[in-house]
């Protein structure tokens, strides 16, 4: 009977490995989008005020101050969004009685955060190399890649969100002067739209 027990264990392991993380609430997407729009507004006022929110050959009177504050804003948006998503996911997972630390959730987080963290480190490298105009593009592209990867471990629909982020990121690569606008569109508007769609479809 040893063999049968092994068979059963293997079947259960196959089933577990294919289970997906479904505690992500559409509401966390909407809120993340709102934070990003607010952050974009702050970044805009830091960089451009009183000029329009895009422009080539920008001359800043105090570049270090502006750039570090923009980075702090971006980081705050990211941390707030992740924290909100974690809070809402915890609430949702309590209802469905699925642990947030289950292998399914860890697979999802690894799939999403490894590209995102690498993208972040790449941005630091870009800044160090004086290529900060590509930062918006890199954040969008690596986030899009992270989402695409993570779509295998959660609701498959987020791959459509990933495609949109990747397109925006590629546009930002060729038109870096629109970096902030595209960033606001990708992390702000798109999140609100997709968050709303997911919320309505799966009721949060």
């Amino acid at each position: 009977m040893r063999n049968a027990q092994d068979e059963l264990a293997e079947i259960k392991s196959i089933m577990e490995r294919s289970s997906r993380f479904l505690s992500l609430s559409g509401l966390s997407g909407i809120l993340a989008g709102v934070y990003a729009l607010i952050g974009s507004g702050i970044a805009y006022s830091l960089i451009y005020y009183p000029k329009p929110p895009y422009g080539k050959a920008l001359s800043l009177t105090n570049p270090e101050y502006v750039i570090s504050n923009v980075m702090i804003t971006g980081l705050s948006v990211l941390l707030l969004s992740v924290f909100t998503a974690w809070l809402l996911s915890r609430k949702k997972s309590k209802k469905t009685k699925v642990s947030l630390w289950a292998p399914a959730s860890r697979r999802f987080m690894r799939a999403l955060f490894i590209p995102v963290i690498i993208g972040g480190l790449l941005c630091i490298g870009l800044y160090a190399q004086g290529q900060e105009h590509l930062v918006a593009a890199i954040t969008l592209i690596f986030y899009g890649l992270g989402l695409f990867n993570a779509s295998n471990f959660t609701l498959n629909e987020i791959k459509y969100l990933s495609y949109c982020q990747l397109i925006l990121g590629l546009i930002a690569t060729f038109f870096p002067e629109y970096g902030l606008v595209l960033w606001a569109l990708g992390f702000g508007v798109l999140h609100i739209i997709y968050g709303a769609i997911m919320y309505v479809k799966y009721d949060g």
């Binding site: 009977m1 049968a4 027990q5 059963l8 259960k12 196959i14 089933m15 490995r17 294919s18 498959n156």
Partner: protein, 76 residues
């Protein structure tokens, strides 16, 4: 579960059974609402795919647990 969905011919290849045998089992599973059936066309060739329902997944888990207990009892 292991796959989101699976089509008839892939099943046949995997399980090495006849058309009739496979169809009978799938029909029964469908009747119990353990799987859902999706019929479409690839050009002019018909394609039927099957996916497990929530109830089906639960029933399967229950079945596995039942078998596990059966084995454990048999050992002691």
């Amino acid at each position: 579960m292991a796959n989101e969905e699976f089509d008839f011919n892939s099943f046949k290849e995997l399980l090495d059974v006849t058309d009739g045998n496979l169809a009978t089992h799938l029909k029964q599973l469908e009747k119990n609402e353990f799987i859902e059936v999706k019929k479409s066309f690839v050009g002019r060739k018909p394609l039927t795919t099957y996916a497990a329902t929530e109830e089906g997944k639960k029933a399967f888990q229950f079945h596995l647990t039942f078998l596990e207990n059966l084995i454990k009892e048999n050992k002691s």
